[in-house]
Symmetry: C2
Subunit: 236 residues, 2 copies
């Protein structure tokens, strides 16, 4: 089989620094994890918070700490530092080759979608961000790795897109429609969801938006691992 | 402008764990860094060493430590732990938006290529791996960010490909030939170099091989950051 992870990410309009942070790390027992955090407010302060949370989580995962424990540790560290005044959402998606499962960790009111073929299940049980109290519990979902599985998770910029002009985004309907097309690529899915949100925000995103799509497919060819990053930049 | 980073990575034949580790991190002052380490020998021990080095380096870069200092710190930590008995190569390529430069840090006998258009310069001054002594110095090269720049770096699996049957790889000639083609994509370059090495090793890589290509291009379209990871997996 083959796992593909695709990310599409844009900053709030006219803000140079995103409050969203995303990192990918190899798991020491085999596999890969992606952590996505969204710090409260926007700009530099939010960036510092989401970077701190993602660094903490990724560092612990790299040491073999389990996902739920890493999320709790990041929450406690944030609560200790900010006394509950600053919160941060967190999603972790892990491909754990040791257990043969995908482990989804959620501290985020925004849902995670688990799709098999063109059927999308919505994980939307109530979930609180990190840093809100001493006893923040992540919601953990564990799913056997199988071809045809697609996981979609995102920050709340996607949820709130279009609200400014009273046309909120319906991610579930969008996603269902895209999945009914012929086997969309993960990057195609992530790009299309992000593009729709930016369109609803009239080309000026009202918040940072990050979309992550993880897909398990059948193997196509070789044993090579690949990664591509595309980063638009402005100098000076 | 737009920065693209592409990675192609394969394990030594019949070894499930790569001694090469690669990670990407956002720089707190803007930009992105990619760190690539190759731990001595292969399999689990080498993986633990290269992961330790990359974790150390990435963690320091995320805190705003400069690249050369991060490399020295990783070397000292490795030397302290292993008493000089285990060494590890390291390359860091950073797109530093604060200084408007690409910073290349090299502790690796294997060269780094800096290409402008179809002209490839070879950075091959003598360079020692991390952990060899108390005074390991990285070689630092700083280049103004400009469209048309391509950086190619890799682990020694590429250098030694084909040696088993007396047909060693000539990376420089290969690269020149590819650059003379019409504007190859970074992933295309990385894939082609890796594929040639695997071919010279008769389909059974004699060592872990990782190739990283960083390219600065003109902007194509939107402000979206994108990342794709492809990971072939075997369960159980």
């Amino acid at each position: 089989m083959e796992v593909q992870i695709a990310v599409a990410k844009i900053n709030k309009y006219a803000v140079s620094e995103s409050g969203d942070t995303l990192e990918v790390v190899e798991r020491p027992t085999g596999g890969i994890s992606v952590a996505l955090a969204d710090g409260q407010t926007s700009g530099r302060g939010a960036k510092a918070v989401s970077m701190m949370v993602v660094r903490k989580v990724i560092g612990l995962l790299a040491e073999g700490v389990r996902d739920g424990a890493a999320a709790r540790a990041a929450s406690d560290a944030l609560y200790t530092e900010k006394k509950g005044r600053v919160i941060c959402t967190l999603n972790i998606a892990s491909v754990d080759l040791h257990s043969g499962t995908i482990v989804l960790t959620r501290n985020n009111p925004a849902p995670i979608f688990v799709c098999r073929g063109d059927q999308a299940d919505c994980l939307n049980a109530e979930s609180v961000p990190l840093g809100t109290s001493r006893n923040v519990r992540p919601l953990i979902t564990e799913i056997a790795i199988e071809a045809g599985l697609t996981i979609v998770m995102y920050t709340d910029g996607l949820v709130h897109a279009g609200e400014r002009r009273g046309q909120p985004m319906d991610v579930c309907t969008d996603l269902q429609a895209m999945l009914e097309e012929q086997d969309p690529s993960p990057q195609g899915l992530a790009d299309a969801l992000l593009a729709h949100a930016v369109h609803l925000d009239e080309g000026r995103p009202a918040d940072d938006i990050s979309v992550v799509v993880l897909k398990v497919g059948t193997r196509e060819g070789d044993d090579v691992r690949r990664m591509t990053v595309r980063l638009p930049i402005r100098i000076g």
